[in-house]
Amino acid sequence: MTPGAAIIVLFGVVPIVWSAIMSFQRNSLVSAGGTPFVGLANYRQMLHDPVVAQALQNTVVYTAVFVPGTIIVGLFLAVAMNRKLRFISVYRTAAYATMAISTISEALVFIWLFDPSYGIVNYLFSLVGLHQQPFLNSTSEALFVIVIMTIWGWTGFAVVIYLAALQGIPQVLTEAAAIDGASRWTIFRRITWPLLSPASLFLLIWLTINALQLFDEVYLSTSGGPLNSTTVLVYYLYQIAFGQQGSGDLGYASAIAYFLFVIILAVTGLQFWGSRRFVHYRS
């Protein structure tokens, strides 16, 4: 009755256990010398690996900018679009359309937009008198170009979530506050924003989980460079296990993957725990 369950067990459940075991082994795709158990050696190696430290830092910086950035952009646009206006469906469609593009298509377009020599962004900079920027070729700018392209790619998703939440807020509440003389900002601050908190929590958690697993855009736009300035954890473990310059050390790569898993679990748990005071559910 359930060949589906068999596939999920084989390709989902078994690998979870297997990679846990592998993270305690020395395991290489290239060498044929068996897979001896090495205890915590892979995890200890991680502590002393400067690239892991760099990748962790890049992952955290990226997440810390991307997640609030997407939430603010999505909230702002959804509030602006949550009203009857001429052309409102054009505005909404433009925002939703970013959901249709794949990470690879998105990255290709933005590499082209931010091309240091031929890109239109540098052209616009020159129009307003700004210096030409190296963007993805710069250790200080590359990660933020990736932040911009991924915020753009997630805008539609954030707008849809917030619009759905906004349309669920009864107008009676905001109208009553307006009659009592509350300013627009007070109404937003005291009524709308608290009622949006479940949607905000969902976006916070969902975007964080995705941000910690950033890979596609990095692979395509910078390959982790320049000088590892955009190497994130997933990109590094991919490089180790399958990359051309990688050591093919599957044990070490598995250890980094489990490290990432623990980070995701811990951050998600913290967000749920921390949200108890801020999230209001209407029952």
Partner: protein, 292 residues
């Protein structure tokens, strides 16, 4: 000396002939649309125009020759076909296998049901990076020892591991449980087999859930990158995202061709997107994510 006219508050006088929200939404919309527009413009420029600085915003002539050239000089037609085969097969197998498994979990008691369900749910929490290395080894082994067509470096390797997903099983199980069980019991009493009940009663009542799962699975498969990157190395087995990435890395291609290939990869997504767009907000509201 006449009495001064009572001055109206200045704010009231300076009213715009349109809502001020347009002043925010028009630039925002331009920023959101611009990458799409620039993608399409580049795809219909000549290579010389594309590499011109300052950039040419309005090509002198519409040059669609990048599209046939991209199809001829680079195997984009092959990539497109591979992507389509993988996506369609994955959708069909998910609909069939997740329906079967989801129905079993929703309606039947069997030994180990609880444990098996918990195991399947666990995989929803674990990021793909944790499972991809063993998945690679298992797929490689299957290709060598069982059937070459599902092994590494064959598009079968992109289908089989995703032929049923924990999300699909969970999603359909939840939906099936909301259906009134009386129809199913009545059919069973009349002698219908379990499979007939599923096929003739449950699935026809589940079309909204099945079409949602189909759309999500298609999007996921069409855009998937990391697993194909690991599993496929030969050009003629590549899917579109992989092919685009390979040509972008190889620097042996004109940007205009790359953008033409990129537009082609977007077309099926845009079709699904425009067909489904009016359901987006409604279906999100229905999931209860927003706490309403």
């Amino acid at each position: 000396m006449s009495a001064p006219a009572v001055a109206l508050p200045a704010r009231r006088k300076r009213r715009l002939p349109f809502s001020p929200w347009h002043l925010v939404l028009i630039p925002a919309t331009i920023a959101l649309i611009f990458p799409f527009a620039w993608l399409i413009i580049t795809s219909i420029e000549t290579p010389a125009e594309a590499l011109h600085f300052p950039p040419i915003l309005t090509p002198h002539q519409l040059d669609f020759s990048n599209y046939p050239q991209a199809l001829q000089e680079e195997p984009f037609a092959r990539f497109f076909l591979n992507s389509a085969v993988v996506a369609v097969t994955t959708v069909i197998s998910n609909l069939v296998l997740c329906s079967l498994a989801g129905y079993a979990f929703a309606r039947y008691r069997f030994l180990g049901r609880g444990l098996l369900f918990v195991l399947i749910m666990t995989t929803l929490m674990v990021p793909f990076q944790v499972t991809m290395i063993p998945q690679f080894i298992i797929t490689k082994w299957l290709g060598v020892h069982l059937l070459g067509a599902v092994g590494i470096n064959h598009i079968g390797a992109l289908i089989v591991p995703n032929a049923a997903t924990a999300f699909g099983v969970f999603f359909l199980r939840q939906f099936f449980r909301t259906l009134p069980i009386e129809y199913e019991e009545a059919a069973r009493v009349d002698g219908a087999s379990r499979l007939t009940v599923l096929r003739r009663i449950v699935l026809p009542l589940s079309l909204p859930a099945l079409s949602t799962l189909a759309a999500l699975t298609f999007l996921e498969s069409w855009n998937n990158f990391l697993w194909p990157l690991i599993a496929i190395t030969s050009t003629n087995q590549m899917t579109l995202p992989l092919g685009l990435a390979m040509f972008q890395n190889s620097h042996s291609i004109e940007w205009t061709h790359l953008m033409a290939g990129n537009v082609m990869s977007l077309i099926p997504m845009l079709i699904i997107f425009f067909a489904a767009q009016r359901y987006f907000v409604r279906s999100v509201a229905a999931t209860g994510i927003t706490g309403m």
